[in-house]
Symmetry: C2
Subunit: 589 residues, 2 copies
């Protein structure tokens, strides 16, 4: 069934048993068993068969069988001998389909007739045992490297036990046109392997073996691709085969959930699964974090409410609302409130996409907010309008304010292993559009950054490009809430005069800025430690506070015109300033 | 002077101050200051100048100035304005050479005449202030992307303050022939930047920005390249400019030492520096580790001596000698003894290549062994013949033995940040030839592996391809000593009968082996849990013990014919078996 889901064991980390347990827990129907995983296992094939049965998993594919076809007769004999052994093993395993990859062997010859005849012989051997042979063109196959070519050979061999295996990576990485898939009879498509990938300009073998991603995490159009396969009448499972350096060493349990989420979203986009739609998100309702209230007062926020039953204060300035959770871990952004056009609908969609739904804890008469956990543990609350404010007993504080008007975005540093998972989560669960990944050199290593969302709700996701070791500090790096204002220069001046802990930016930054641009307000940027960026559509002024918790700070931003970015070019500058400020507070010269 | 050494701040991690301190401590004469490092620094250019002077560093280059030449007149005016500001800054900084990279700007035009005229104008401006402009062809420059082209433009501009900057990466990555460098007058080569790199088939910009290495760590022939530049009469420093994802986040102090070692070795190979030669190494004298003596007895070793003054036992079988250090940390290989044709010469060479010389601790009448520390902390002792054995009081133990004859190799798992450094260390300090890097999929992530040495002394260096997080176990991974024998099947059987803790290899491994090869002794391999590999020149039989310390085990190998490898294809199998054995001992199902 194209509704069924499978995953190749090579996608996940650990022993075969670790992988099978993770796949079953994430709800997969079946697995492709990668030969090397079986070879290293202390369980015999029949024991693995029982284990899979106990876990509710079918074994949909045994893979791969390599370098079989278009060889001289003596090699064919050895290959058939090898195949017989593997077919015996598959019988024990209870797997009825074997993947045969197009040859990369120096012994193979460029002869479709011979390839077809030999594959026919293999299919005959397989068919006798109730096994099907799925022939796949590797993108780097020696003579056969397109799916059209593999299909021509299968058609020529014309055996009921021989069909093709289609792999989205091998097809899309070569920029092959996938539309001709519709011309292959569905029953001759024996298997479908799915992988996404970022667009990289490198050797396709290296790209394939290291950088594949789950559907929705990369740049391939898997919706269109899978649509062609479904339209052809394919009836087998949608199966993931993703070689990825990070997934290979990450905890397989969340990785399997991430994998399953990618298939749920793909099945929705292809139209073989219906999910609750993602309701429109209209803005940030609040951010909850643990910082001293005095810092918020210095920034012009007023303490306007106290939660009826929890140790939580509501602080407000303009439409920017911050919750200070006195019980939360120092310095983390623990929760985000997002304004949803349909909070219950947002929660239903999240749940259908495997987001952990958080237990609802609310006193009598308090708002019943739905919440789910993002991959990094941040709690996402769905708020409908301002009803949730009634949970706070108003104080008599008067809001004067320093010119801050709302929340622009929230920057969530992602754990190394969860960067790609986070993109897929926010894209599929919340319907936020991801920007391309950008990269910058921070003082202690390269950082990847990716924004999701649009003008109403914006999040930025950052992670180190190489997981850092002991030397590089700031692991995990600080997170921040970026607030908006209409006049960054005036707000910065007012806040500094009021004693807010604003971060000093070094003069060298302004010397360079003045060399690059002829700005009439350059002196005022320097005076107020305000950073500057521009793009084709507008300008961006922004400044930061010092770190106000162990790993959190505030940014204040002003967008002029249609500026769409986040001032990433300036991030290394304020990261260095944060580092030096912290060293100087610690008394280190 | 081509004897002088410099390093670009972009090679190292941290703040500008961290980088300068590390460069000075490693003995560099000068630095190239990367603009972004200065911009983020709280120190003004004149303060940086003073800091460098205090550290004994000259500022040899300010870099980079981009997208200057071959532009329309209004853009030229803006670029000259920018240049004036940067020249002012350089005056403050005390830097007299600026790097100008060939343009990648969409505003540039393909007009050598215009490029030369505008660079001449820039040089005129620079010359007035005593500044020199070094023009460099980026490998991905829009119109100018070869050194020959950059030199044609410089020659056409014909200004004393304009010369070329040569960068080995930009030249060798494009497979340009470097021999024509000899035709450039030495005084017109204003600067030389050196970087090595592995051969990668990818977009050259990505290759350059992420994967450069220090000379001697990659695949480029930097000796020939640098030889051409020296022959041309270049008189400036040899300066490193290496963009590398790992070095960017690693402790800059050892990284700077590694960098300096690469230049010392390069200067030797080019013939501008004389070092003590690396004496011939004739074999492994011993390996020192912390394991229970009972394990060695089970493996057929005899306790043949006790150190006169230290808590160290000498165990021997055939010519394999192991030192058991009862005081050492459980499970590490703490030291290697290598037989040197000239131990004092080995130590002198090591010292000249910045290897930390270990303090000599020996009682009266004991051998005075020279020793140095490898990058991972392993102590390397240089032994001349068997004299060192006299430090051990012989026991009356009788050697019977189980057929083990010597040490084949020692496998040292490398800390993630030090993999490339380790290669350079063993190659330059000990004169061991490195094999190419291989890669394999271990159960908990990809592993890079590289062997160094030849038939007399062999070491293998392994490291995770992606630094592992909390989930993947075995961080750091086990190390092992590989012992030789003449008949692995017989030795395995004898050891197992004697109760040695040999590792069981799963039956699935042998099913696969029998499918791949038709081996007459297949059943005996299976019976004795012996692994098998072959290459063009021979065969390899090997088996492992269980882990006998927290992170150490023994391997026993038999090389047949000219087999040159290390059975890496089987490593994932025994790694999984080690893992499962450990779980089963811990009572985890």
């Amino acid at each position: 069934m194209p509704g069924d889901t499978a995953i190749a064991t090579v996608c996940l980390s650990g022993t075969l048993e670790d992988k099978l347990a993770a796949a079953a827990a994430a709800g997969f129907h079946g697995v492709e068993i990668f030969e090397n995983d079986l070879i290293a296992s202390r369980r015999s094939p029949s024991e693995i068969r029982r284990l899979c049965a106990d876990l509710g998993l079918t074994i949909d594919l045994y893979q791969p069988f390599r370098d079989f076809e278009a060889v001289p007769p003596d090699l064919l004999r050895a290959n058939l001998r090898r195949a017989r052994r593997k077919f015996d093993l598959m019988a024990e395993l209870g797997a009825d389909t074997v993947l045969v990859c197009s040859s990369v062997s120096p012994d193979a010859v460029d002869d479709d007739e011979l390839a077809a005849a030999q594959l026919r012989e293999l299919a005959e051997l397989a068919g006798e045992r109730g096994i099907r042979v799925a022939y796949e063109a590797l993108a780097w196959g020696r003579f056969v490297n397109t799916y059209e070519h593999a299909w021509r050979i299968v058609r020529r061999a014309d055996h009921p036990a021989l069909g093709v295996c289609l792999d989205s990576f091998h097809i899309l990485s070569r920029r092959s046109d996938p539309r001709a898939i519709r011309t292959i009879p569905g029953e001759k498509i024996f298997f479908l392997q799915l992988a996404d990938a970022p667009l990289l300009d490198m050797d396709v073998l290296h790209w394939s073996r290291h950088h594949r991603l789950f559907p929705g995490q990369g740049a391939f159009d898997l919706t269109a691709f899978t649509g062609h396969v479904v339209a052809a009448g394919y009836l087998g499972p949608l199966s993931l085969e993703v070689f990825n350096d990070v997934f290979r060493q990450a905890d397989p349990r969340p990785a399997a959930v991430d994998a399953m989420r990618s298939l749920v979203a793909l099945r929705e986009s292809v139209g073989v699964l219906e999910l609750p739609e993602a309701p429109r998100l209209d803005g940030h309702a609040f951010a909850e974090l643990a910082v001293p209230g005095t810092v918020l007062a210095d920034l012009g926020f007023a303490h306007v409410g106290t939660h009826r039953s929890k140790p939580v204060q509501l602080w407000q300035q303009g439409s920017a609302r911050l919750l200070v959770n006195e019980a939360a871990e120092d310095g983390t952004i623990s929760a985000l409130g997002l304004i949803s056009a349909n909070p219950a609908g947002s929660a239903r969609r999240a749940e259908s996409l495997l987001a952990p739904v958080l237990p609802r804890e609310h006193g009598p008469g308090e708002a019943d907010l739905s919440a789910v956990a993002a991959p990094d543990g941040t709690e996402i609350f769905f708020c409908g309008g301002d009803g949730w404010l009634q949970d706070f007993v108003p104080t008599r504080a008067v809001q004067s304010g320093a010119g801050i008007t709302g929340i622009d975005h929230v920057a969530l540093t992602q754990p190394f292993d969860h960067f790609d998972e986070a993109t897929l989560f926010y894209r599929s669960v919340l319907g936020l559009r991801p920007d391309p990944v950008s990269e910058f050199a921070a003082p202690f290593g390269l950082v990847r950054s990716r924004a999701v969302g649009d003008r109403d709700v914006r999040l930025t996701l950052d992670s180190a490009l190489v997981r850092r070791g002991e030397w590089a500090p700031g692991v995990p790096s600080p997170q921040h809430v970026a607030l908006t204002c209409d006049d960054a220069l005036a707000v910065a001046r007012a806040l500094r005069e009021a004693g807010a802990p604003l971060l000093e930016i070094p003069g060298n930054y302004y010397d360079d800025l003045e060399a690059r641009f002829d700005l009439p307000f350059a002196a005022r940027l320097r005076e107020n430690s305000v950073l500057y960026d521009r793009d084709e559509d507008g300008e961006f002024l922004h400044f930061c506070t010092e770190l106000v918790g162990s790993r959190v700070f505030f940014e204040v931003v002003q967008r002029i015109g249609g500026y769409r970015g986040y001032g990433v070019v300036n991030t290394p500058v304020y990261m260095t300033a944060h580092r030096e400020r912290r060293l100087s507070l610690a008394g280190v010269e």
